[in-house]
Subunit: 464 residues, 2 copies
């Protein structure tokens, strides 16, 4: 009976300590958000990247300019270390503007299309062939080589609009672009055209990488959704009579080119060889400014460290901002980063990737998180994020640049930043991915959310 009051007192002290830790954390988060919203630099830096450098596909002169500028930017922020990690990257060039026509009897209707990234060229005179409309890769198998050989395969499965997150619709429609051309080649198709991966009904085709695997590369292009509907209607109206398609592109894959990841660090005061990494990718597709994909991600990554400098927070662990190179068509930067981490015997506690656009933050997804981990992290931290409306802490993917760390840093928790997903695929991989489509506050709120998570991990770890 004597123990009881003592136990109560101890519990009370523990509760007070925990309440006071919560209070310290909540004050620190408020500081982080204030710094991002009042003195944020991400937006003006993004403006420079988009307007003074612009498109920066791997291997291009602009990619090199972006690397040099990115290094200078992080140096100007006063980080403890800023350096480059050399890599070799694929060097694909689009060449002249692609051409596409629907040929229905004597009618040739030009349509909006762009070659997929890594596509090979058509013969100089283009390819004309009968087009066959499919809705899944499985249909290739069902139909077999007899029906596919010599034809242009048209994958036309639209986004499933029932998904609440647009990223899920992208994920489930994506095989048509990623794997469709390689798969159709196996069955003797001469080219592949794919419906653009978007909900938007407009005339902007969306590029994006295709991966032929070990199959013979064949020319591959994306149609705008309006063009895809037009082609589908034409085929339907032809009522069994063959409809042809003309495709011409002169894409080329040049020899691999030298490039770099750009890395900035704030050295940890207690555990300098333990790392918390935040990254996005510096390369972009060649059609626009790569504003949301992924200019916002790299600018947020640098901003996270800048916020800590500005608020005077000294991290226990070393914090890294990484501008990965070559996410779009090869992932060489991410692979190299993981390789070097192993080589240098670094220990990564956590890595956070921001590559889903600079939209209003909703929370984070934790790769391979157990129900117990999710329960604990929500019990401990959700209420801290709630005032900022960025408190979805869920299981899910992280990102393709930090993904390779899974192999070399088994104890690292891989985390994906989750912004609102609705607008991303309207502009993703199109000429509309420009600075004007980024909202300053959304970008800044995202940076603050990521910085908040980094702060909490730095303070309390992730051992739930």
């Amino acid at each position: 009976m004597k123990l009881k009051p003592i136990l109560s007192a101890l519990l009370l002290t523990a509760a007070r300590l925990s309440a006071s830790a919560q209070n310290t954390d909540s004050l620190e988060l408020r500081k982080i958000y204030d710094e991002a919203l009042v003195n944020g630099k991400a937006y003006e830096s993004l403006h420079y990247l988009c307007k003074n450098i612009g498109q920066r596909i791997s291997g291009s002169d602009n990619a090199q300019k972006a690397v040099e500028w990115g290094k200078k930017l992080m140096e100007s922020y006063g980080f403890d270390k800023v350096y480059l990690q050399p890599i070799m990257v694929p060097h694909w060039v689009r060449g002249e503007k692609e051409q596409g026509f629907i040929i229905n009897g004597k009618t040739r209707t030009p349509v909006a299309l762009v070659a997929l990234g890594m596509s090979v060229a058509t013969p100089k005179e283009g390819i004309t062939a009968e087009v066959i409309e499919l809705h899944s890769l499985k249909e290739l198998e069902t139909l077999g080589a007899d029906k596919i050989k010599g034809k242009i395969v048209f994958f036309n499965r639209p986004f499933d609009e029932r998904f609440i997150e647009a990223g899920s619709a992208y994920g489930t429609a994506g095989d048509q672009r990623n794997l469709g051309p390689g798969a159709a080649s196996k069955y003797g198709a001469v080219a592949v055209i794919v419906r653009s991966l978007t909900s938007a009904l407009d005339n902007y085709p969306h590029t994006g990488a295709t991966n032929y695997g070990t199959n013979t590369p064949i020319p591959a292009a994306a149609l705008s959704t309006i063009a895809a509907n037009k082609l589908s209607e034409t085929i339907k109206a032809a009522n069994g009579k063959p409809v042809q398609f003309f495709l011409k592109d002169n894409c080329q894959t040049l020899p691999d080119a030298p490039s770099f990841n750009v890395v900035g660090e704030l050295t940890g005061t207690e555990n300098p060889n333990q790392f918390i990494t935040v990254g996005g990718h510096l390369d972009s597709w060649d059609l626009a400014e790569g504003a949301h994909d992924d200019g916002t991600g790299v600018m947020q990554s640098a901003e996270v460290l800048r916020i800590f400098k500005a608020t005077g927070y000294r991290p226990k662990h070393t914090l890294r901002a990484v501008f990965f190179m070559n996410e779009e068509n090869g992932g060489r930067g991410g692979k190299k980063y993981a390789e070097l981490a192993a080589q240098n015997k670094e220990e990564h506690i956590a890595a956070i990737e921001t590559d889903e656009g600079g939209f209003t933050p909703r929370g984070f997804s934790f790769q391979g998180a157990s129900p117990e981990f999710l329960k604990q992290i929500n019990a401990n931290w959700r209420s801290l994020f709630a005032p900022y409306e960025a408190d979805m802490l869920v299981a899910g993917g992280s990102g393709s640049d930090i993904g390779p760390l899974k192999g070399t840093q088994p104890s690292a928790v891989l985390i994906g930043f989750r912004p609102d997903s609705q607008r991303y695929f309207d502009i993703h991989h199109t000429p509309n991915d420009v600075f004007e489509n980024v909202n300053k506050r959304e970008l800044e709120l995202g940076a603050a959310s990521i910085a908040s998570l980094v702060y909490l991990i730095d303070q309390h770890g992730l051992k739930f």
Copy 2:
């Protein structure tokens, strides 16, 4: 002791019943979202309203066109009743394009500005006077009539960027526009110019109503944020030397004009005289298409009832979609609606207003909600909204059109639909409030969220 197993069994049954109710609800919500996302009509209807009718300020021909079209639209959706509620509305017209100049010595610099709604005209030759920069209405008091008399008062307090919700920044800066001109008039100011109510740094001035109260009306206009900064810098650089401003507008308030609220109903099967109302406002400012303000709100209101028609759901209570008239400069539609509700002895269980833009839904705010109410509604319904990421059920405002119901329907729960707030004040009351700035899925998700809440209220009431 005998009772125990029986009680357990009863509790188990209750738990099962409750689980099965939750399951029914969750299936119904999924149906609602699927209908909105796959067969939604809100986006194409909004396109018509924006592009074929356009701006529709109270008393204008376009407002009348919008009323007639709105009625036809709801009739075409097959609602049980569609009718008009006649009202008289203020009829303010902007007249010729306003002019504004900063006059600094011999330099006249033209700036982007628009008259505030309900502003009076300047003399034909305009007003030229010394400008005095203030940051709050309180400063009028501090300075007194001596310092204000004969001057143009320039209210230049920017948005406080530390707010997470942009609506809070709007709310706290808004007195400068709403009340500033009337207050400055009391101290003898000859005109008022106000910094536009936005975070965006650009050259688009934002209009919006001013309310002179019982004070003598003086001309009032909003400067773009770039113009406001320019004027402030000019005053600062003049270092005490007076800077003048020239303002010219010929706004006019004509006699009140006849107009209408448009009302559509699905009659309740069990309690037809108990109402759940969803509404937005049909009128808009005269500068653009009123896409987000509040074309999205009216289209969502009609869509909610259309969804129930399409899914075959028969409501127990009568559901109403209301297109309120004159929210922007008078609120006559909202007042009339409340008046008629009382006159017709209607009982409103709940009213939901959607007038914060057609952005990604985040949840709902419940006006005057007690902590216990919030606790219960979250315990009962939050998990149902969580899969749709629209599960913020919080205390807060509802809206100015349903606000008057507070007086005549004391038991009605007044609810505000809460979409993401970050982009709204970039375009609010400017020429950029156009259809192109609305995202189809965001609009549809909002309609589905509201329909889901209406469904839950219809099934379970709001007696927490």
